[in-house]
Every structure is written in C-alpha cells, then in structure tokens.
Amino acid sequence: MVNWAQVIFNSGVTGSLYLIGAVGLTLTYGLSKFPNFAHAEFMTLGAYIGYFVAEQLGLGLPLALLVAFLIAGLVGVLCYRGIFQPLAKRGASIIHLMVASIALGFILRHSIGAAWTWKPLYFTATWSAFDAGPLRITGLWLWLIFAALVLSLAMHFLLMNTKIGKAIRASSSNPELALASGINVDRVIWITWFIGAGLAAVAGIFRGADTQIWPMTGWDIILPIFAVAILGGIGNFYGAIAAAFIIGLAENIGVVGLIALGLSTTYRTGIAFLILIITLIVRPQGLAMLFRRA
C-alpha cells in the first residue's frame, strides 16, 4: 500500500532542495551564457562550511547557512571574475567556458577532499522525526521547505520590484540593449554570481544534513539540478520553480515504481536524466513560454 500523501510531501522536500540548488545555475547560465558545472562544488563547499560553523564551532544551522551563503557567494564572484570573465572577454565560446567550469569543479572538489579528507562527515544534530497524520516528517525537511518558500518570495520581490532585479532580467534577455540603456552588465553578472553561488551553498548544507557530506555532495545532485534549469527554461526563475517540483514529483513517483518493479532506488537519478533528455528533444526552451515575464 503506497502512502501517496507521503510521496507528495517527499516531492515537496526534493523539489525544495532542487529549487534552491538550481536558482543560481539557471540565472548565471542565462546571464553568462554558459552552464557552470562548478556550481556542484559551490554546493559542496557550502556543505563543508556549514559543517564547520554548525558542528565544529557549534554555532547552529541558521548561522551556518548565512556564513556559507556569504563565503560561497564570494568564491563564486572570484571564480567568475578570475576565470570566466577574462575568458569570455577573449572571445571564449560556450564550450570553452563549460570545459573551464568542469576543470574548476574538479580542482575545487579535490582541494576540498585534500583539506577535509574524503571520509564522509555527518551532521550530529538530530532532526527529530514526528508523525503528522499519515506523514512522517523531520524538522530538517520543514526547514528546507521553509527556506525554499522564503527564497521564492525574496527572489520574486528582487526580480520584479527592485532596480537590480529588473536589470538582471533585462541583461539576461538582451545584454547589448542593457548596455545601451546604461546598465553595467558586468556588475549585474557579479551580483548574480554572488547570489547564485551563495544559494548553491545553502542547498549543499541541506543536502549534506539530509544525507552525508563528502567531496561529491554537490556532484551527486548536479544532474537533477541541470534538469530543473533546462526544463524551467534557462535563466527563467519561475520556470525553475515549476520544474523543481515537477522533477521532485517525478522522482518520488518513480521511486514507488522502481520499488514495485523490484529495482534499486539508486536509479532515481535516471528519472531526472530522462526528463532532461525528453525536454531537450521535444521542447528545448523548456517551460519558458509559460513564464514570459521572467
């Protein structure tokens, strides 16, 4: 007997994690015009910084989220300014930039492994599980859903009501016209990389707290996060919200199917991959047409 309420709830948890992880990827992809694979390592870095602040310094989860956001944000900006911006100004193509990001990710991953070792770490704070009706819930999951909700509202306010938010949308859709309007597009890109890498760190902490922290923490979920960015439409924040929950739902229903078929649930990542492939074949622009004011 499948507990469908639990499946729906779990989809919300999965979708929340993917949304927080994908916002930065899709926005920086839209502005800088290349997929940054090192986004995975921004998540991993966040998980380790979070572990350091929350566990080793014992300062708790909220402060860990804040510190990881700020440090990873700064690392993101430095990576963009130090590596990708100079490459782009020299006329690097999307492929050059993408390969550079894979290389950067590799370096970051192994540097993290060298600094903290590859032995998995665990948050010791216990997230008491409790029952609410048919649902089994943990405090961490509620925190995660809450964080995704706050993020959605904050990003909506930023993109629709602030000057910098409108400049992000404008620069993403038409960089030349943005320059002609007097927008400092480089600065807009730096700010977006800061926010994007910072949010990746937040996703990394939640993923690390829910499973384990090791140098592959981010890489383990980069595929579904790419699927969210592409299904949502590159650079489209609202599309990403819809896509995160569609993929969250597909994965969790898929897990039910895998169990019914007697297959391992480790195939769940394959579901996001399948959606990614189908999107690219059938509708490469993703859900963008549904959210045109993005």
Binding site: K163, R169, N174, L177, A180, N184, V185, R293
Partner: protein
Amino acid sequence: MDPIFVAEDINAGYGDVIIVQGVSIQLAEGETVAIVGPNGSGKSTLIKSFLGFARLFQGSVFYQGKDITGIASNRAVSLGIGYVPQINNVFLNLTTAENLDMGAYHRKGKASIKAGMAEIYDMFPELEARKNGLAGNLSGGERQMLAIARAMMAQPKVLFLDEPLASLSPKPASAILSKMENIRESGTAIIIVEQNVKKALSVSNRGYVLVNGTCAIEGDAASLFAEDSSKQRYLGLEAKKD
C-alpha cells in the same frame, strides 16, 4: 554653432574586417542629420563604432568637445548619448513600464524618474495604454515607439536611431517620423541611419550618403534631395516605392 558631436576619420568594422573607411561626420545642437546609403554601406557599423558595439580601428569621437573615443557602451548613456538599435531594441520579457525604467537606469531620484515617465507618456500616449503589458506583446510600430521612448528616458542630448523605419508599414512609419519632430523640438539632436532616403531626409537638416563604407556626398537635406535621379540610381539611392 559648435557641434555637439563630432567623429573624425573613422575606420570601423567587426573582428578584423574593416567596413567603414575614413568617414567624418558632425552634428550641431538641436540638429537632425541623416546617414543614408544602400544596404551594406556601413551606416549602422559607423554609429555602432562610436558606442563600442562595433570595432573602432581608427579615428576620434568627440562629444561636447570632450574626447570619448572608445568609451564603454554603458557609459555613453550617462553622458547624454542615447542609442536605439535596429533590431532587438526592446526587452521582450519586461513590461512597457519596466522597459522605460531600464532607460532611466542611471538616473537618480524616484520622483524625477516618475516625472520623466509622465513626460514620455505625454509624448507616446499609445504606450501608456500598454504600460503593464509585456513588450513582447506589442505590435511592430508600438515596439519601435517603446524603443525610442526607452532611450528618451535617459534624457539624451544626442540620439542615434538605427533604421527606425525598417520593416514598418507606412502608417506607423509616419507616426515614428512625427515623434522624431517632437524629439527635435524638445532639443535633442538626432542622427538617423536609414535606407529610406526620402523619408529620412524629409525630417533632417543635413545628410551624409555612405557608399561602400565611404562618404560619397554630404550636404543640406534639400540639396541631397535635389541630386539628379541618374546619380541617385548610381548610388543605389532610389527611394522606395511607397
């Protein structure tokens, strides 16, 4: 009168390819100047090179007597130079009002921007009716209006218009021309790049005719108008039938 904008001996193009060679133009305050010529003559490349959207190989650009050669694209606006590209000239994913907001990006003070927007809506009443709609839903003529209105939000002293009449049917085209008259009356000097010679010269004081990247003739709009038709045909300047 001292010219407000001067470009001297410009060589410009893209990558390693030089398209414009040795062209000089100038614009007096409050004047409208047309740069006309056949397709591929380098008209658009010329004005793009002033603003960093095409490569400037050689030459100097002065604005209000100051050397602004090689200025960063986004810095020109705050000095008072507006630019309306020929294509992709509105933010499709932004509303009409948000497009105007972007035009006022460098301006300070919410109240003055709001007042500026009210002035723009006075000049372009058709845009006010669509202010909360997406620019992507506007008609071709309305888009061109919005593109010009966005540039006007920056309160430019010099406005570059790149083929504003291209792909417009006669009615919206004449609407754009009458807006240009309003803009000139408000004191903004205009450089208009156009293939439609007759229409461009009809709203201009002077004109430059570019052929194969060099300036073939320059002079008063009236005298260019009067150039005999055989020469016009030779230059590929025959007015479009409309």
